[in-house]
Symmetry: D3
Subunit: 136 residues, 6 copies
Amino acid sequence: MYTVSIRDHFMIAHSFNGEAFGPAQRLHGATYVVDLEFRRAELDADGVVVDIGRAADVLRAVLAALNYRNLDEEAEFKGRNTTTEFLARVVFDRIAEAIGRDELGPGARTVESMRVTLHESHVAAASFEGRVSAAP
Amino acid sequence: MYTVSIRDHFMIAHSFNGEAFGPAQRLHGATYVVDLEFRRAELDADGVVVDIGRAADVLRAVLAALNYRNLDEEAEFKGRNTTTEFLARVVFDRIAEAIGRDELGPGARTVESMRVTLHESHVAAASFEGRVSAAP
Amino acid sequence: MYTVSIRDHFMIAHSFNGEAFGPAQRLHGATYVVDLEFRRAELDADGVVVDIGRAADVLRAVLAALNYRNLDEEAEFKGRNTTTEFLARVVFDRIAEAIGRDELGPGARTVESMRVTLHESHVAAASFEGRVSAAP
Amino acid sequence: MYTVSIRDHFMIAHSFNGEAFGPAQRLHGATYVVDLEFRRAELDADGVVVDIGRAADVLRAVLAALNYRNLDEEAEFKGRNTTTEFLARVVFDRIAEAIGRDELGPGARTVESMRVTLHESHVAAASFEGRVSAAP
Amino acid sequence: MYTVSIRDHFMIAHSFNGEAFGPAQRLHGATYVVDLEFRRAELDADGVVVDIGRAADVLRAVLAALNYRNLDEEAEFKGRNTTTEFLARVVFDRIAEAIGRDELGPGARTVESMRVTLHESHVAAASFEGRVSAAP
Amino acid sequence: MYTVSIRDHFMIAHSFNGEAFGPAQRLHGATYVVDLEFRRAELDADGVVVDIGRAADVLRAVLAALNYRNLDEEAEFKGRNTTTEFLARVVFDRIAEAIGRDELGPGARTVESMRVTLHESHVAAASFEGRVSAAP
C-alpha cells in the first residue's frame, strides 16, 4: 500500500458545549496543522499516488473555507461541537467530495482511503480515516 | 475511524541483558516521549473520542509511576529487558486497566483500540497497538 | 552563556484591525506553542540556570491567564492588535514580573535575559527577547 | 502488534517525465528523511522487534547505494519516474531482501510487515507498506 | 528585540568541488527547508515586525528562482560551491534586495537584521545572519 | 555571521543532589538530542564553515565517551550535578579541545563561537554558547 501525505494549516475561533470541556466552553481558538494522506494499492502511470500539486491546491481551497472564521457562527456547524475529531471528519468529507468532482484528476478516483490528522498543539492531535468511494 | 492522540514523557535508568545490546548492557537511561492514541468508530455525544483532559491526567499518572526511576530495581520488571517495545506495552496495559476502572469516564469503554509510541531519540521509536477490551 | 528552555501552549480567539491583515480581520483564533528561554552567564550552586519545575509552573500560570479566551474582550488589550509578536512581549513581561516577585526563587533574579517564542503554525513564529531587570 | 522505527536520510538528483510534474521535469534534487518501521506480533527472547543496531546498519547501507547520486543515470531506474512513492518502494524491497539474506539476524525473518516513509520536505511525504515474506 | 519567522522550502541539484566533500562531489541534490527571520527593536503601528503575508510572498518568489534547478548550470554560481552556508547567504541577499525595492512594504525598511536558516536534513542545517541596510 | 549545525544524541543515567530536584534525586536517566552549532564570519575556500563530515565524527566521538553510562560513577563528575546545562558545557569544552587538537582540520581554528544545545524532552532543553579560542 502506497501513501502520500501533504501538510497545510488553518486558524479558527470556536467554543464548546458540555461541562466536560471546562474552560474550553469559553470562546477561544486554535491553529490546526493538517496532514492529509491518500492511500492506493498501486501507483498510476506517472508513478504517483495522486498529483501532489493538485492535491495541495484542493486542500488549500478546503481549508480556506474554514480559515479565519468563528465556527460558532457557521450555519453548517449549528448545534455541533467543532472538536478536533469532528473537524478532521469535515475536512475528510470535503476532500472526498472534491475527488468525486474530479478536482484532483480522474486518477484520484482510484484512491482507496484517506486519513486526515489535525494537530492542535505540540501535545494533541485527532484524525479521521476511512475509505473513499468517489462514485456518488 | 477516529483517533485522538496526546503526548507526555518520562525519564528512566535501566540496563539490558544480552550481547546484542552491546554498550547498552551498561546502566544508562532514556527520555521517552510518549504518544498515546485512542481509536473509536464513532464520536460520543460531546463529539469526542475520549475526554482529552481526563486522558491526559491518566497518562500523567501512569507515567509518574515509571518516571525518575531505575527500572532495574523495580520488582515487576525483574528478569525482563525494559526495551522501548516492552515499555510501550507496559504503558498500553496500564492505560487499558485505567479504562477498565472507568478512570477516563464510562464513555472510554467504547474505545476500540489504542496505540502507544515511545520516542527514545530523534531517530528511534517503538510502539504497541492492540484492541482494548475494557471488560475484565 | 547558559540557556534553559521550556515549552507549553495556549489557545485563544482574536481579530485584527488594519487592511494589511486581510481575512485575519475576522474573528478567528490560534494555538500558540510557547518556548521560554532563560539566559545566565553562570550556573547556580545546584548547577542550573533556573529551577525548571518552578519555571514550568510560572509559565503555566501566565499562559492560563490567556488560555481559552477571546482576546478582543480582554480590557487590557483594548485597541491593540494581539499579534504573535505582541503576545510574545506580553508573556515576556509577565514572566519578568513573576521573577521580580521571586516566584521562580531568589536565584532567578540573576537571570540576565529571556526569549519568548510563540509558534502559531508549522510555518510561522514570533519572539521577543530582552534583558531582565528584576528590581522594580 | 509491536513496531520499531528508525530514521536516516539520503540526498539525490533526478528529474521527472510527464506534464503533470511541471517545473519538476527539470533536473533538481531532494533530501529524503527515511523512517523505517518493522512490525511483529510478539517480541523475541531479548524483548525486541529487531536488533535496532543491525537494522540501522542495513538501512544505512541501503541508503548509501542511493545517496549522492543522480538517479536519472542509474541503469535500474531507466524509464521510471523516481518519485517519492516509487523510492519508498525501492527502499522497502531492498530492506526485505536484506532480511531474506539474514543481514538483520535470523530473528528478523519473523518480522511480519514494514513501512518505509520518505519525507521530502516539512510538508510532503510518501510511504510504502506491506508484508514481508523473507523466504524467496 | 522582536523576531518574526516564516518557513518555506526549495529543491535543487548540485555537486561540489574539493576532496573534502567526498561522495558529495557527484551530482546529487537536496531539499532545503528555509526559516527566514526578521528582527526589529519596535513593532510598527499595526503591531507587527513585517507584513507576514507579503514576506511569505517575497520568500516564495526568491525560492522559486532557485527551485527545481541544477545549480551547477546557473551562470551566477559558476565556480562556486553552492553549499548550504553559501545558499543561506544567497537567500539573505535576495531578501535584503527585495526590502530595498520596498517589496515587503516601506515599513520593512526598518528591519534591523535577518537570519536565514537552511535545514538540509533532520540532522544538519546552516544559516547566515546579518544587518539589513536597505538603502543602496 | 555563518552558522552550521549538526545533530546527534546520547543516553545516560544519573541522579541529582538538592531538594529542588524533587523526584529527580532518584537514579533515573535521559536521552539528550544534541545540536552543535559552529559560527564564523567568513566561509573558507571550500565555501563551508567547517568540514561537516569531520565535525560529525568528532561530535560522535565526544558523545560516545558519555553514551550508555551512569554519570554518577564517572570520576570526572564527582560531586557535580550533571544537569542538562552542565552537560551542554561539558560537550562544548570537549569539542573546543578537539578543535585545538586540529581534529576538525586546521580551518576549524577560525571558528569564532559555538553553541551546544541538549534537548532532554519535547518540552525542555538547555544550551551553552561561547567563544572558541583554539590556541591553548
